[in-house]
Amino acid sequence: MRHVASFGRFWWNFVVGDDWVAAAGVVAAIGLTAALAAGGITVWWVMPLAVLVVLTVSLRRAASG
């Protein structure tokens, strides 16, 4: 059981890292991009804007923490 937990923790740290908010923001942004693209809307601007917002929020959390 302990090995499973440490295996899970390793992959969580590897993929998500220090700030889960950034990872959640990326998933939400991809979902939004897919939804808008399915609706026939031009979406190339979504991810750059999302990255700017996610990174700013993540840095603000780190700098004030």
Binding site: F14, V15, V16, G17, D18, D19, A22, A23, V26, V27, A29, I30, T33, A34, A37, A38, T42, V43, W44, V46, M47, P48, V51, L52, V54, L55, T56, S58, L59, A62, A63
Partner: protein, 252 residues
């Protein structure tokens, strides 16, 4: 062509950074616990990495390209944002700079104080230290090579960039027998964060069903955007750090 150059460069830079970090651990292990144990650990880790790459590489090529780009784009983005976040915090003074000399001294001191654990003529502390160091750093390289390579349709090209970096770092490291403290590691990490984020934005958008104006050439525009954004965030945080220091000084 554009994407190919980015591909080799990204794999090279990321592998160089991870190689420098792994080298520091292997050197500390070799100096403190003996080279035989340390190099056996390196060999075992390289073998384990080869098995992982051999198993995952062909598996990735059978996944439909858009699904692959969506997942890989998302992963690269979370990965890239982790690197970029740390690099920006370091550049603005909110996080200590990565110092290979300091890490080497710490690893060396720990390795020297650990009790000897000999099995079959191999010191297991030295073996495990090298094995874990190379496997963990190598796993990031393998991840970047496989994801970049498979998404771009050329794992060998990504492997070439990574291979050149690993050979270069290994040769330099064993020539000087010291951690490569002069390598501008923090700058390299910043560059890798920028590259991973750029590819992550590009592929996750394509995977989600979007198209880029200008196709592959859009990578240059995204790269410019990510660099400008990163420098702007460093400037903002530096100003904030200065204000915090001035305020703290006024209260003492």
């Amino acid at each position: 062509m554009t994407a190919g150059v980015f591909l080799v460069l990204s794999a090279f830079l990321a592998s160089a950074v991870e190689g420098v970090e792994a080298l520091t651990i292997v050197l500390a292990s070799g100096v403190a616990r003996g080279w035989r144990s340390s190099l056996t650990g390196v060999g075992a880790a390289v073998l384990a990495l080869a098995v992982i790459v051999a198993a995952l590489g062909p598996a990735l090529t059978v996944i439909p390209i858009n699904a692959l780009r969506l997942v890989v784009g998302g992963l690269l983005l979370t990965f890239g944002l982790q690197w970029l976040r740390k690099a920006i915090l370091r550049a603005s003074g909110f996080k200590a700079l990565h110092d290979e000399d300091e890490i080497f001294s710490r690893e060396l001191a720990e390795a020297r104080t650990a009790a000897p654990l000999l099995r079959g003529g191999v010191d297991w502390y030295g073996f495990t230290l090298s094995f874990k160091g190379v496997l963990l750093e190598g796993l990031e390289v393998a991840f970047i090579v496989l994801t970049f390579g498979s998404t771009q349709g050329s794992i060998p090209l990504a492997a070439l960039g990574a291979g050149v970096a690993v050979v270069l770092v290994t040769v330099l490291g064993f020539a000087v027998r010291a951690p490569l403290a002069r390598v501008p590691e923090n700058t390299l990490k910043f560059a890798v964060g920028v590259m991973l984020t750029t590819f992550g934005i590009f592929w996750s958008t394509e995977g989600a069903g979007g198209d880029w104006p200008g196709s592959d050439a859009a990578l240059f525009a995204i790269l410019g955007f990510v660099i400008a954004m990163s420098f702007a965030l460093v400037a903002v945080l530096r100003r904030r750090k200065r204000t915090m220091l001035v305020t703290a000084g006024a209260h003492t």
